[in-house]
């Protein structure tokens, strides 16, 4: 099973059956820069594509005095997986971004959403997110680098500016064909790569910024 491997010195929960929740702690290199980019703004708007995490709302609310928009796209992806087809998924996801982003967005937390999408859907979503961002807006994401059948969804629980707890919960099985770093860059063409680091968990953490 795909999992967020802990770095040396990081705490990790003992191995458990796949049906149970598994947690691990991962260091983040890009999150501090994501927060710094938004902290200079008086009242930024943050778009979170994952399931709501109450402590993240508190964390970003306290750090950034931001407005948060929660648009859980994993629900739609799971629904498509249950149907056994990705037909119409791109339209659903981009429609959600359009309706969620009633005004310009300063920052996007993608988490690992792109691991669950095929190439055309990933391109459509990336284009939609880029279009929703304000100039100098930032986008943060994790990208798996290994081919795998993903049988879980990960909740990312921010512990501090430099650490994220990853909680794996059972979900529909979706095959991940990893995006190469060049593909990730092309996905967000027109945005500058602020940070791109390969974590010990074989996951790439990336931060992009739209030019001013």
């Amino acid at each position: 099973m795909f999992s967020w491997g802990a770095r040396s010195g990081e705490k990790s929960a003992p191995a458990q059956p796949a049906a149970l929740i598994v947690e691990s702690l991962s260091a983040s290199r890009a999150l501090p820069k994501f927060i710094s980019a938004l902290a200079v703004l008086p009242a930024p708007t943050l778009l979170d594509l994952g399931p709501v995490v109450g402590t993240n709302v508190s964390f970003f609310g306290e750090r950034l005095s931001c407005k948060m928009v929660i648009e859980d796209l994993y629900e739609d992806i799971d629904a498509a997986a249950r149907r056994g087809t990705t037909e119409g998924l791109a339209e659903t996801l981009t429609g959600r971004i359009t309706s969620a982003a009633s005004g310009p967005i300063d920052g996007v937390l993608c988490w690992d959403i792109f691991d669950y999408l095929d190439r055309p859907t990933a391109r459509a979503l990336a284009l939609s997110l880029r279009g929703a961002l304000r100039p100098k807006g930032v986008l943060h994401g994790f990208f798996g680098t290994t081919s795998a059948d993903l049988k879980h969804r990960t909740k990312f629980i921010v512990q501090s500016e430099t650490s994220v707890k990853c909680r794996c919960e059972p979900g529909q099985t979706i095959h991940r064909t990893p995006l190469q770093s060049g593909e990730i860059a092309r996905l967000f063409e027109g945005m500058n790569v602020v940070e791109s680091v390969l974590l010990q968990s074989k996951t790439r953490e990336s931060l992009f910024r739209l030019p001013g």
Partner: protein, 135 residues
């Protein structure tokens, strides 16, 4: 005061005492100085204004609170939240925006302007006495 789970209210509900809702409400709820608890059985399709709002059931509509919004672990909210403090428990379902920059109920007029239209049916009855149908 409690509104039981067999009660359906369509219209505007307002008051000046703490209230627990277990039934269904469609329209608008205003308890600007009081605690509103939306119980586990409650299904609300309304704009909500209160001092403090605790959600254990389902809400489709915007919630604005002067002090705090607390969505408990079985709570389901689809709408926008505005309050100085917002707590969302693990396991809760939420989709919408969260604005903690200003007061909630104090800004209720502007919040109402931003409300999702589908959540706000025309009031069936204006005033503190709601239209209630027991099933």
């Amino acid at each position: 005061m409690n509104i039981g789970k067999s009660v359906v209210i369509k219209g505007e509900l307002s008051g000046s005492e703490d209230l627990t809702i277990e039934g269904q409400v469609e329209g608008k709820i205003e308890l600007r100085q009081n605690l509103l608890t939306i119980g586990p059985n409650a299904k609300i399709k309304a704009q909500v204004f209160a001092k403090t709002v605790v959600v254990e059931g389902q809400v489709h509509g915007n919630i604005s609170a002067g002090e705090r919004i607390d969505i408990r672990d079985k709570g389901v909210v689809e709408g926008n939240l505005a309050a100085p403090r917002v707590a969302i428990a693990d396991g809760a379902h939420f989709r919408g925006s969260i604005d903690m920059q200003g007061g909630g109920a104090a800004k209720s007029d502007s919040a109402a302007t931003d409300a999702k239209p589908s959540a706000v049916p025309a009031p069936a009855h204006v005033g503190s006495v709601p239209t209630a149908v027991a099933r």
